[in-house]
Amino acid sequence: MERPTGSDLVNSDQEKLLPGSSSLAILLIVFLSISMLILFSIVRGGVGHVAEGDGGRQAFGPAEISGVEFDGELLPGIEEATTGPDQGEFLVPPPPWSESGYFPCTECHADLDLNPEPRVLEEMHDDIELNHGPSDRWCLDCHNPDDRDVLRLINGRLITFDESYLLCGQCHGTIFRDWRQGIHGRRQGYWNGGKSYLLCAHCHDPHAPAFHAITPLPPPVRPQFLARTAQEEAQEAPHE
């Protein structure tokens, strides 16, 4: 076995080069160069690839999004409902279709004959898709036949459209209860004070109440593309 021992290398010169044949020197050089090669190949490879067509390449902010009201105003009266004399009251915005030109219904219906027969509507209201519960559901189950400006509960009580939730609550009892407690539906305002509720019909079309699919806002930017702008900037500004 060949191995240089301490006594073989008696010298006082501290600066003496390592013997050229030393396995150590060769190994170290090989090791260093291999590790450098590996490191640089890793770096050049870059971070994980993102498949073509996958979302999350671009950073969107709320300013680029149209059709969503981020600065929504509270209903007037919320402050009074928090501190004023009306404290504890829940506010509700006017029911849908209030200002659509349909209301008041009696403007037309007062002069029309009553036809309780279920049928396909052709002259008016042909845009209404009726898809709510049992197939024999018909308009006059809810709308009061004698005065179309109000709704009619099962017990015969007449209510305005502002109170339509009472009508919905006849069947949807648990959800009605949740809604009154603020567990169902959207509310705005003060968690410890005045707040506004929405009526069932604000979110659910009463004639076809199932929720419609909506367009999602853009996905977050992937980590691979987070630095895009900043890196461009760094390249523009020559460092040192």
Binding site: M1, E2, R3, P4, T5, G6, S7, L9, S12, D13, Q14, E15, K16, L17, L18, P19, S22, S23, L24, L27, L28, F31, S35, L39, F40, I42, V43, G45, G46, V47, G48, R222, P223, Q224, L226, A227, A230, Q231, E233, A234, H239, E240
Partner: protein
């Protein structure tokens, strides 16, 4: 007294910077790498950590991996004093001093790695007691900073005392040095344990949240630290008067084989638990060793590390290869590579991939990160070279104290 100190300072500085062309070439090379890294750090300082590839998904990576590895080196370098005592290796003072010097340099490097990793380097003073607000006892990083600084100071005191007395050709104060030296051994275990606890205490990252992480850290450190020292001893044997007995080197290699066995055993225990129980937590290990859903950036390195470690274990286990210079050195290099990959890449990154919400972001360092890392290693080597340079001629004098 003051005259003694000034003569020591100027004298050792003169020794440290006096050398032949090879020495200056080496220093110059390190200096250039330093500057290269410093330029990269300046770039990072100006633009923020966005110059790295770390993101919210993988928020610790290359820097912290290197930090962990170097804490291990620092710990193991001093732990080598234990067998030196037990087996009564003759140049024990030399082994101890070079261990301490390596520890000092490694601690400096590891602290620099933490320094470059934080987002607000202007606020690191807040970690210090009294002037800052260290969140003790609950923060393990807070503890880690404390013990690392303490360990650095401890080692510096020992080294400076030995060198100072050596320089003035006085015997060193055994009553002072030996207790400190003995204390530095549990302290070495301590720093690496605390560093392991930084990871092991993180319940959110199941890959790290393992009771045997600290023992694994110690076992693997006991391989990598001595590997560096073995190579250093051979260089010293050839280039200086310092004689380190071959038997001592072989004995260290044998101990490294045991440490590597322990390391591999603990690793196997971890692997068994992961794969046999086959819970959701397995995904990190799978990402490391086989890749998940085509995410396999780390797979070659994980296997390379394992192969290096096993090969080195076999080389050090068999007496014939352990005592043969070529295979011995090959083993050292393999161990170093194996442990470096294991700590630097295969610990931190898979712990964070996939992230806590299941997202895969395959991290690899940027050139800027690698440059900063290289710069820090250059600083560490520079410190170590200069410290060794000071120590060697002082140790040369046979009158400068008798070792235990």
């Amino acid at each position: 007294m003051i005259k003694d100190i000034t003569s020591f300072t100027t004298g050792s500085a003169r020794i440290a910077f006096k050398g032949g062309p090879t020495f200056y070439a080496w220093i110059g090379f390190l200096g250039i790498v330093c500057l290269w890294g410093l330029a990269a750090w300046w770039n990072q300082f100006q633009h923020g950590l966005i110059t790295t590839n770390m993101r919210d998904q993988v928020s610790w990576a290359f820097y912290i991996g290197n930090f962990t590895f170097l804490v291990g080196v620092a710990a193991a370098a001093v732990m080598l004093v234990i067998p030196a005592y037990i087996y009564n290796w003759k140049p024990i003072k030399e082994i101890a001093i070079f261990g301490e010097l390596l520890a000092v340099s490694a601690i400096v490097m590891s602290m620099l790695f933490v320094f470059v990793d934080v987002g607000r380097p202007d606020r690191v003073w807040q970690l210090m007691p009294i002037i800052g607000t260290p969140n003790l006892p609950s923060s393990l990083l807070g503890w880690d900073v404390m013990v690392l600084n303490g360990y650095l100071v401890l080692n510096l005191i020992i080294v400076v005392h030995l060198l100072y007395t050596g320089f003035h050709k006085r015997p060193y104060n055994r009553k002072f040095v030996v207790p400190l030296l003995l204390f530095s051994i549990p302290a070495a275990v301590g720093i690496h344990t605390v560093t392991a606890f930084v990871y092991a205490g993180t319940a959110a990252r199941p890959f790290w949240n393992s009771a045997i992480l600290a023992p694994r850290f110690l076992a693997s450190a006991f391989c990598s630290g001595p590997a560096i020292l073995l190579i250093l001893f051979q260089i010293l044997q050839r280039t200086t008067h310092i004689k380190i007995k071959d038997e001592a080197i072989w004995k260290i290699a044998e101990l490294m084989a045991y440490a590597m066995f322990l390391n591999l055993f603990l690793f196997g225990a971890e692997i068994f638990r992961e794969y046999y129980s086959n819970t959701h937590h397995l995904i990190h290990t799978q990402y490391l060793y086989s890749g998940v859903h085509g995410h396999d950036a780390l797979v070659p390195y994980a296997w390379a590390s394992l192969i290096c470690s096993v090969a080195a274990f076999l080389l050090f286990l068999i007496p014939a290869t352990r005592t043969h210079l070529v295979t011995l050195n090959l083993g050292c290099v393999l161990i170093f590579a194996g442990v470096y990959i294991e700590k630097g890449m295969a610990l931190v990154i898979p712990g964070m991939t996939p992230d806590t919400l299941g997202e895969f972001y395959e991290y690899v360092p940027t050139l800027n990160e690698v440059r900063i890392g290289a710069g820090i290693f250059a600083i560490g080597f520079l410190v170590f070279t200069l410290l060794c340079k000071m120590a060697i001629p002082i140790l040369r004098d046979p009158d400068s104290g008798k070792a235990a």
